[in-house]
Amino acid sequence: MTGEGNGEHDRARRFRDAALPYLDDVYSLARYLMRNPADAEDAAQECYVRALRHFDSYRGPAMKPWLLTILRNVCNAEFARRRKQETPTDLSEHETAAEELPIWQEPTSSPETTMVRRQEGDTIRRLVAALPQPFREAIVLREINDLSYHEIAEVAGVPVGTVMSRLARARSMLRAAWNGAEGAMP
């Protein structure tokens, strides 16, 4: 490992083999955290670049949660940077509001009421995307990235109990929002 170009090359190859199979997971989480494709792609690339840099300190066994933790930190750093260094645009204001507002707000007036039944998957995607950050993150890590509670806790840097209550809350919110979108009474 000491300065051999060959070893370096070998290391990068091992990293690619281990990490690239999770690109869809990384990209999906990035989409839900960054909320637009261009930012998600930048975040995913930065995630892989950083992960390779830290590959030596990677101690398995689970590559996926490790990558997702790095991705989450990349996204957080980006939000922090925007908040500090830029005058808030509409988008970042929206982000800030969503993140600093952890308390559940009932999204009763969903604009897509009419198209729900035709495009249920689309609706659910929107409902998930509309969740406040900690809940959105928890549900995406669970349902899309298929992580265990302990892995989610590791990625989000919170106790498992917090993960449990966030997931329960997230599903309650989705249920309420879904009912609202369907115009059905619970």
Binding site: D24, R53, L167
Partner: protein, 263 residues
């Protein structure tokens, strides 16, 4: 289980995160409680709908090639400080604040008893490794005696607990002696028993992993492991005896620990 903590438990059930005993408790509760049964159905519908919605996105091909191009450059770069992967960044979103602080506190306490922890799994594996090590010639005992009054004082100053040493010879578990062992980097007491030709290691520590109100038996590498908590101590019994015999052992130890007359 009561209805107040059910939302978290119902979700953990749906996610397959409850251990077998608690999953059964929750399922039993649901058969008797229509309110929770309704909640379970609703949570399950949400879970199913989200799974069925196919929310996972395929990374675009150009992103993949972009990353593949970027990687060798990153690889050639300087080595960054190794402080990056630190899971606790909980302050970023203003700390943990959900609408119901109560349910959060509840969940935090629940998780100690309900969800098996990775740490616990690690410790269970270490306990089994320590047991296997102890079976190698000359490793079983540091103090060899069937006299409990010799074994117990031997641990003084060697571990930070005074492990109960109970002579169960009359009940089929012969006390062989004691040993100092290391689990998870901490010195722990091991009290060694014998059942016919089988060795039982009883590891005793102040706290190995999360504390457990209930007992559970599991098989690791062919050994049966039983973990329980009593009188403020953590107990791990490891042996190749049959599970029901390990149960019996555990009951006898537990019974001897309880003061006479109390239930």
């Amino acid at each position: 289980m009561n209805c107040e903590d059910s939302e978290i438990l119902l979700n953990a059930l749906i996610d397959g995160e409850l251990d077998a005993g608690h999953a059964r408790d929750v399922e039993e509760h649901v058969t008797a409680c229509s309110a929770c049964a309704k909640k379970l159905t609703e949570f399950r519908e949400v879970h199913d709908a989200v799974s069925a919605a196919g929310l996972k996105m395929a990374a675009p091909a150009h992103l993949r090639s972009r990353i593949e191009k970027a990687l060798p450059l990153a690889s050639a770069g300087v080595i960054a400080p190794r402080k990056f992967f630190q899971p606790s960044r909980r302050t970023f979103f203003g700390g943990f604040a959900v609408g119901t602080a109560l349910s959060a506190a509840l969940a935090a306490s629940l998780v100690l008893t309900v969800v098996r922890t990775d740490q616990e799994q690690t410790i269970a594996n270490e306990v089994v490794s320590a047991h296997i090590r102890s079976l190698q010639a000359g490793h079983l005992m540091d103090v060899e005696t069937s006299d409990q009054h010799t074994v117990k004082p031997w641990f003084n100053g060697r571990v930070d607990v005074s492990p109960p040493v109970i002579d169960l010879t009359a009940q089929g578990f012969r006390l062989l002696g004691g040993r100092l062992d290391y689990i998870d980097g901490e010195p722990v007491a091991s009290v060694v028993y014998q059942r016919r030709k089988h060795i039982i290691n009883l590891f005793v520590a102040q706290r190995l992993g999360a504390s457990h109100a209930s007992t559970r038996i599991e098989a690791i590498q062919g050994y049966n492991v039983r973990h329980w908590s009593e009188v403020g101590l953590d107990f791990w019994a490891v042996s190749d005896v049959a599970p029901d015999e390990l149960d019996e052992f555990d009951r006898k130890i537990a019974a001897a620990l309880r003061p006479a007359g109390s239930s």
